[in-house]
């Protein structure tokens, strides 16, 4: 086992490019999301064309314009750009601007005389989520305007009570959950790659026929996957701290114990995937996307509580979700309410896969899948 483990690590050391890619994928994933969503949370805000048709702006018009441009604790912030109707229309139809707010002529008079008036809002409804993110800040600004200028009409207001005093930034939250993704991806890919390289270099038979027990060889490959899977984690935490100034809550021992078992479980899956596909062409996307799949359905992109009870219950029975559940709670709240249960579940799965995956991988490795397919074709 030790020989197989050392050999695999040596292979990785000789291929630093491959290791760099294992580190880069989750990092790029995080940077990609940060850049994409950064505009909602940081920066100057969403560019919004404001067309002022009002000929005699007064206190209400100026007030609305001021509120539209004000910084807001609830993202996204709007970045109003004053322009004429023609330019706004052209930019909107060319897709260069996604939101246009038009303040009509007579706006000031209508409000001063207690008459009803409409502001026009044009939204590029590319898809529902974007439409929501464009419409909602306008609604919020209008509500703030109501609460400021129409005290007699704003009989209802609201207040928000958070469960905890600090709200973590969305993108830091994602970096923490991507660290779990990177462990899964690294383990599946490293173990899968350890198998496929034997098939691609036609060294599988030599290994199987050596004096070492096959089980030990496969376990060695699995553990090399476990070690490789942790390479991206420090970079992710560090980058998230540099960008957002927040460390995750919790202690490193809990993180390591849960992710070690997760990595072991994922390595087992990688081992089987490598034996089945025997080609890196399939193992790379399977590792990257299998891990993304679990990252999303286990609450990596958004907490499962948003999705309602049905989804939560189904997800409860997936082993990896348990790791995410405890880690997300630990990262965000610093609490460990489900740690014992989740550690037991992933522990059982990890031990089970550690026993069974070398057996399955060994069995599949002995099959000549190409020949079987050929025979089946001939029989037909």
């Amino acid at each position: 086992m030790k020989a197989s483990f050392t050999k695999e690590l040596r292979v990785w050391r000789r291929n630093p490019q491959k290791l760099v890619l294992v580190i880069l994928l989750p990092l790029m994933f995080f940077v990609g999301f940060s850049m994409l969503m950064g505009g909602v949370y940081f920066g100057s805000g969403v560019e919004t064309a404001v067309v002022l048709n009002e000929q005699n702006p007064g206190v209400y018009t100026d007030g609305l314009l001021e509120i539209l441009g004000e910084n807001d604790p609830i993202p996204p912030k709007l970045d109003p750009l004053m322009m004429d109707a023609e330019t706004a229309d052209r930019l909107f139809h060319n897709g260069e601007i996604l939101l246009v707010i038009t303040i009509p002529d007579g706006f000031e008079d209508a409000i001063a005389n207690n008459e009803s008036v409409s502001i026009q809002v044009q939204v590029a409804n590319i898809h529902e989520d974007l439409t929501k993110n464009l419409r909602m800040p306008v609604i919020r600004k209008l509500d703030i305007f109501y609460q400021t200028y129409f005290l007699n009409d704003s009989l209802v207001d609201f207040e928000m009570v958070g469960l905890r005093p600090f709200t973590p930034p969305r993108l830091a939250y994602m970096a923490w959950t991507i660290s779990v993704y990177s462990v899964m991806f690294g383990a599946i890919f490293a173990a899968g790659s350890a198998m496929t390289q034997e098939f691609e270099q036609e060294t599988m038979d030599e290994i199987i026929l050596s004096n070492q027990p096959p089980h030990a060889i496969y376990i060695g490959k699995m553990f090399s996957g476990v070690v490789i899977s942790f390479t991206a984690v420090p970079f992710l935490f560090l980058l998230s701290y540099v960008l957002f100034g927040v460390w995750p809550n919790g202690d490193i021992l809990t993180f390591l114990s849960l992710t070690f078992l997760l990595a072991l479980f994922s390595s087992g899956i990688g081992l089987i995937a490598g034996a089945v596909f025997r080609n890196s062409v399939f193992v790379v996307p399977i590792a990257a996307l299998g891990a993304i799949f679990y990252w999303i359905v286990a609450g990596g992109i958004a907490p499962l509580g948003l999705l309602g009870a049905t989804f939560d219950v189904v997800n409860e029975y997936l082993p990896v979700s348990n790791v995410y559940r405890t880690l997300i709670r630990m990262f965000v709240e610093g609490t460990y309410t489900s740690l014992t249960l989740d550690l037991t579940v992933i522990g059982l799965f990890a031990v089970f896969i550690m026993i069974i995956s070398p057996m399955i991988a060994n069995r599949i490795s002995q099959l000549n899948l190409g020949q079987i397919l050929e025979d089946a074709k001939n029989r037909r």
Partner: protein, 373 residues
Amino acid sequence: MAAIVKKDLKQAKRDPKFLGPSLIIPLVFLLVYTIMWTSVGGGESFACGLVVEDISPEANNMADILENMVSTTNHTWFSIERYDLETADELYRNGDLIAYILIPDGFGENISSGQNATAVMFINNVNDDVVKNYVHRFEAAVLLFNQGAVYPDFDQSSAPIAMEESLRLTATPSNLKYMAAVAIILSLIACSLASQAMLTATEFETGALQDTLNSPTPRLALVLGRTIAAIPRSLSSLLIVAPVICISMNVFPVGNLLILFGILLLTILALVPIGELIGMKIRNREQALLAAVLLTVVGFILGGGMAPIGLSPFSIRIIMLILPTTHSLALWPRVFFLDTMLGLTNSALYLLGTWIVMSILVMRLMKKEVELS
């Protein structure tokens, strides 16, 4: 040149493994999204508890607004469950309920006596995105109430300021339909990049590329031949992916099919030389594939595959616009959901320019390789 095209196509036919990433990547992405969005009623309805302690008509109006206000795809904004205060608070504190709204006793009385009434939202502030999504929805309900726009008509005509909205598309595509449409071009992106990167890296591994480069064929013909061969090869992934996605997700293109084909063609032209560069630089099949997958995933996310880049700050958008995938992903859904030719020129020219620049780079690399060998 014809011989190069023939050779590359024959190679693709003999070893169709290049289709792997282009089938797996979009279909897994789509599967994940389908699971996510269908389990939550279209992705717009957020689970939320409601505790109404007041029995006045005003409290009922507020509750009706919260329960019935809808998004542009006609999904309610909240998927509301009513609870008593004790149960809601227990679920909330256990993490089983991410938020609940309390309409307190005396809510209606305050309004009828001309005083302010306050509704309270208790929220598990896991991150600021969750807070944003809940607060925005709640605030919309409060505004509707103050505008006098109550359920079922939500009529704002007597409000001091009403909001008159106009949407660019006649029907807003749901998140799932949008994702289905972009999954088609994602498949093409994956196929163009990965197949060319793998082909070149394999030829390096076998030494076939050096032989080809040292042959008397002009380098321009070589690059053009390989690019032409990449067009049917890349499009072949769509023969499977496009019908599967369109039929299973019930999403069909609205825009002109010829323009859509043109966008696919430009995407292939821009990405194939990049795949070639990856293969030439990495020279190892597995690593070239990993790099191509990495570039595909990052290019897809950064390029606006999951959310259009319009929300990003200008300075970051400039960086995103360097990626050719950003332009492909800007053009594709635009024409897929709308029969338009507006706003296509810049991105189309950028893709064409990328093809030319990258092809020149590939030719220079080939020249360097010949000199070295």
